[in-house]
Amino acid sequence: MRKLGAVAATGVVLLVLALAGWMRAPLPAAQGGATISGKVKFTGAKPTMPKIDMTEEPKCKAKYTAAPPTDEAVVVNANGTLANVFVYVKAGLPEGYKAPAPAGPVTLDQDGCRYHPHVLGILVGQQLAIKNSDGILHNIKAKGTKNRPFNISQPTVMTSDRTFTAPEVMVPLECNVHGWMHAWLGVLPHPFFAVSGSDGSFTIKGLPPGTYTVEAWQEKYGTQTATVTVAGSETKTADFTFAAK
């Protein structure tokens, strides 16, 4: 009998704790089925990106057999669209919306003295796994203003983990040993972001119904926004066009 009482008491305590935890927890991610997708187009003369001289790092240089590496500030795809554009929901989610950070990390690889990917997104609190596949000295420095910075050294094949505490578009990442190495990290409190790929397209899935401000960010050309309303599980298209400068 006493045993039963103890179990019950424990149960109540646990329940209270769980409730308290639940009440303090951020708003749970609203489950939605809507999708926003589109293409990032480009008009005007395709800029020629400067070649990167990797003579100082033979190990990296050797990885470019077909063509010498070039700067990635603007990457125009074969179909005339833009790659590496960060597209994300800037406004329209409920106030204070905060999705729990996924358990798995986002990986940023240093390979051939370049970052892969060049542009990426992550959730607040999610782990960024910074990998050095080159096995030569890189340092990786994050230069956000809303997040605390960091600057760590990786002289060998290794992975370092870091997290970010505040939404920020974008946190610049760079290597100072190789001045040409830059990457851009969008830190968001929700998973509604995408990066345009090698065909210029992007897809943001799982949106709850609503009216959203969607922003497209390009390293050199700045930002553009669109307003999109989605309901249920429909898919809406939002295309962006950046012009050569």
């Binding site: 030569i136 605390r148 960091f150 760590i152 100072n176 040993v177």
Partner: protein, 524 residues
């Protein structure tokens, strides 16, 4: 257990506080700040005070709360004690002065509280502000194996990428470096630990390796211990190796260079073995800010000087650290960035050009008649009416000239030359001037005589930092003394006597031994 309890008991009477500075007053802190700090750091703390545009490195921008000298992990906020330390000691090698004797304890505490108000990060309680737990320095710092281990990690980590093979800040990445605000930044010269921002001891170097210098390319190496790339002790060895590159004590500035007399001929090469046996003297140089065409960021921070003579000729060796053997076209973009950052008083930044490196040694034309008469020409290259006698060396074309300077802008070559030989090695120039003590042109060329105090001054230019003409580093007048030979009876004979005695003794002992063995052989 008991000692722990005693410790606790001992600690109990003192109030326990999480901040080492319980009473801080931001209102009073503001008054101190406005009076003493705003001129450099700016009214709003953005590092943009009226004097800031001339400085490299720039005064700290407090709004980002990014600090170099911390005891916290990479990217974390500094502790109050860290900020206090920077204010107390200043940041050597930069314009940031030490405030300890100038402001009271309360004033310094209050100003710490005030500069924290410039950034919202300090108010954010979720920010982690905790000093790292540092281990103590292992012994054996200067042992050969310790230094070898240190050097091994200097190589395997790749410090040379920025700091260069010998640590003079001349690595292949050095010319591309920027700080977070985009200003050019020099990889520290590891041979000048007295100019390290956070202090030059092995302990302080170890702390910087653990924490990195936030806002600069200098990373933290703490992750390497966590990842077992090296042990904590090995990181200490690295710090000790870096420490060993600089002299054990910061160089003391002495007024007189003593040039001993040697048995001739005097060395003409900068790498002659004689120099290893001659004392060297350090003279700091500062930017030329007296006259228009001012220069606030001198690259040559000082020169090491040695001298010897043989009664007929003087050899003067000047060596200094310089990242580049100018002109070096690879450094032109860096030079341009330096020129754009350090606003001169001219209109607009000058264009980067492939200037050579230069060095000048300056003397008065004649020594004062009476030893008491110490009036000397104007230190900044004399004047129209009272010129100075100078030796000038340039790296490209490689040549040396002797002549008269009448102010910064006028130099008239004299027919009587000065010989010079220079070598450049891993970020160091070594230059030897040789000239006869006595020359025919007694009116213009200083006559160097033993036993006299000969006024001397130095000027340096680093072409790859855009230095040329009045954009240079200057010293004040010092003295050169050619020492008379020490009479043999006083100095050499006791030593010789000792050697002779020792030598003779050995010979005697050997003979005796040989005779003894021979006798033993015969007896067998």
């Amino acid at each position: 257990m008991i000692s722990a309890l005693l410790l606790l008991a001992g600690a109990a009477p003192f109030p326990i506080s999480h901040s080492p500075f319980p009473v801080q007053d931001t209102t009073r802190g503001k008054a101190v700040y406005v009076k003493w700090c705003a001129g450099c750091h700016g009214d709003g703390g953005a590092g943009d005070g009226v004097a800031a545009a001339h400085m490299l490195p720039r005064p700290r921008n407090f709004t980002g709360a990014i600090y170099k000298i911390r005891t916290t992990a990479s990217g974390q906020l500094p502790t109050d004690a860290d900020l206090m330390r920077a204010i107390d000691e200043g940041l050597p090698g930069s314009a940031m002065p030490a405030w300890k004797g100038r402001l009271s304890d309360a004033e310094r505490r209050d100003v710490v509280a005030y500069i924290k108000t410039f950034s919202s990060f300090f108010a954010d309680t979720s920010q982690h502000v905790a000093a790292l737990k540092f281990s103590g320095e292992p012994s054996g710092a200067t042992g050969a194996t310790a230094l070898k281990t240190g050097r091994q990690f200097y190589d395997s980590i790749g410090c040379r990428k920025c700091h260069g093979d010998q640590g003079r800040g001349d690595g292949p990445s050095a010319r591309t470096l920027k700080d977070d605000a985009g200003f050019p930044i020099f990889a520290a010269d590891l041979h000048q630990s007295w100019r390290f921002r956070g202090g030059g001891s092995a302990v302080e170097i170890y702390h910087r390796l653990r924490t990195g210098l936030d806002g600069t390319p200098m990373p933290s190496f703490s992750d390497l211990i966590d990842q077992k790339f090296l042990t904590d002790e090995q990181l200490w060895r690295l710090a000790q190796y870096v420490r060993s590159l600089s002299p054990p004590e910061p160089p003391e500035v002495r007024d007189v260079i003593h040039a001993p007399q040697i048995v001739g001929p005097t060395p003409v090469s900068p790498d002659d073995s004689t120099w290893a046996r001659v004392g060297r003297y350090w003279f700091p140089l500062v930017g030329q800010v007296v006259r228009k065409g001012r220069w606030f960021a001198p690259a040559v921070t000082g020169v090491w000087v040695q001298g010897v003579h043989d009664g007929r000729t003087l050899a003067l060796r000047v060596s200094w650290d310089d990242r580049t053997q100018s002109p070096d076209s690879a450094w032109l973009p860096f030079e341009q960035r330096v020129l754009e950052t350090v606003a001169g008083d001219d209109s607009g930044p000058p264009k980067a050009e492939p200037w050579p490196d230069q060095l000048a040694v300056q003397f008065p034309r004649r020594l004062p008649e009476s030893p008491a008469g110490m009036e000397r020409p104007y230190f900044l290259m004399g004047s129209e009416t009272d010129p100075v006698y100078q030796w000038r060396w340039t790296s490209s074309p490689r040549k040396s000239l002797a002549g008269l300077a009448r102010g910064i802008d006028r130099f008239d070559t004299l027919p009587g030359a000065v010989a010079a030989q220079a070598s450049f090695d891993h970020g160091e120039w070594r230059l030897v001037f040789t000239r006869a003590l006595a020359t025919p042109d007694t009116a213009n060329e200083v006559q160097l005589a033993a036993g006299r105090a000969i006024p001397v001054a130095f000027f340096g230019w680093d072409g790859s930092s855009g230095e040329h003409g009045s954009r240079m580093a200057v010293s004040t007048w010092y003295f050169l003394a050619l020492d008379r030979p020490t009479p043999p009876g006083v100095f050499i004979s006791p030593v010789l006597a000792m050697l002779v005695t020792l030598g003779l003794g050995l010979v005697v002992v050997r003979r005796a031994q040989r005779r003894a063995t021979a006798r033993a052989g015969r007896q067998r």
